[in-house]
Symmetry: C2
Subunit: 206 residues, 2 copies
DNA sequence: AATAGACTACCGTAAAGGGGTGATTTTTAC
DNA sequence: GTAAAAATCACCCCTTTACGGTAGTCTATT
């Protein structure tokens, strides 16, 4: 018998999971929570084998919750639940001890497979997650490393300041700002301000 | 007895809705679909009083589906389902005939209230939607109207082209391109390229 | 006939962009 | 522990582009 705990701020999703998991004879739902705090409180007195955990929680971030639960109760397997568009979170959840990662548009057999696998100590990642994860790590490697100063200047450029204004604000020479700006262009492989801002937004520097 | 049809590509949400609505004695679930096409097919032979419709569907956009259903079957009340971060969609769904708008983190009594209200011909919008809607319409009024030429030039600027390059591409004088650029600055209330690109992305012009 | 918006165009100054060079310090790597 | 690499700073020249102000024509709307 596998006991499953659910953390999700969407009552509908919780209802769906409970309703569906209760039909399974070797699975029992030990409880559910709509907030991270409620989840932490639950595990102070009770326990479960597997947690289905939403990443977007109203109070504490799912990544932080995952970390906390794993450090207190390493034996509990955590499956992250998320919607499509959050490539960067996948990495973070895995780093913080999640054993599986399911998309919310996963169908019921997939959820069962995930629960059974992580309960046995294995990992489960939905097919699409693999793609997103790969894409996000590749994206990461393509996304260049900017120095502290470069990030600082990039932000000021994005705020509409000219090199002269930036130089005054940072107490450095205009020429230096200009050099940093040119280095930003080189690193981000762009040729002017318009493309710089676009690339910066695409790479989440802003 | 109110018959409800569900369209959502997340099996969990469908499961949750079905499980919860079946408990209500004056509500029956006439069916559900994971895609817009499956929904359209259903209504060719069967019907329902209320449709709970997700906005993010894999095949056809929820807004388009809403429009189609409303034009074919004006008597069916549609409640849009969505997650928080989609202010601009609310307006479009209402324009296309939706009678209600629920956030997916709505709790069960709220869903019931929405179904009963729209079935009686009234409208229902969750509290938070009101806020988002208001914010988005205010945002809309702030979001300026760009002419065809201006949009064209904005796109080319965002592609990193200089005024000279744009002028050659559009067979007009550099000065003209420059004027359009300045008008873009005025309309979007910015003073240079960096801010222009930022505002353009914020206002979904790119 | 008047007002407003779109599209066109020009001028002068300020800023950006492309190139190269070089010094100092801090990080990283072997 | 030292050498290589990267970061931060700074300067020069020169060309191109951007920005601010001004202004004409045309068309649609009132």
């Amino acid at each position: 018998m596998i006991s499953v705990f659910i953390v999700d701020d969407h009552p509908l999703v919780v209802e769906g999971l409970v309703s569906f998991l209760q039909k399974e004879k070797n699975i029992t739902v030990s409880g559910y929570a709509n907030t991270a705090q409620a989840c932490i409180d639950f595990f102070k007195t009770k326990t479960a084998n597997v947690i289905l955990m939403d990443i977007n929680l109203p109070d504490i971030n799912g990544i932080e919750l995952c970390k906390q639960i794993k450090s207190s109760y390493p034996g509990i397997a955590i499956i992250a639940l998320s919607t499509l568009n959050q490539g960067s979170y996948i990495t973070k959840m895995i780093e913080n001890g999640a054993s599986g990662y399911l998309l919310k548009n996963a169908d019921t057999p997939e959820i069962l497979e995930a629960i059974h696998k992580v309960e046995k100590g294995e990992t489960y990642f939905s097919f699409e997650v693999g793609k997103i994860y790969k894409a996000s790590t590749e994206h990461q490697s393509h996304s260049p490393i900017l120095s502290k100063r470069e990030k600082e200047i990039l932000l000021l450029i994005a705020d509409g300041l000219t090199n002269t204004q930036i130089s005054k604000q940072l107490f450095i020479s205009v020429d230096t700002v200009d050099t940093h700006r040119k280095n930003l262009y080189t690193k981000l492989k762009v040729t002017n301000t318009a493309l710089l801002i676009r690339k910066a937004i695409e790479n989440n520097f802003l």
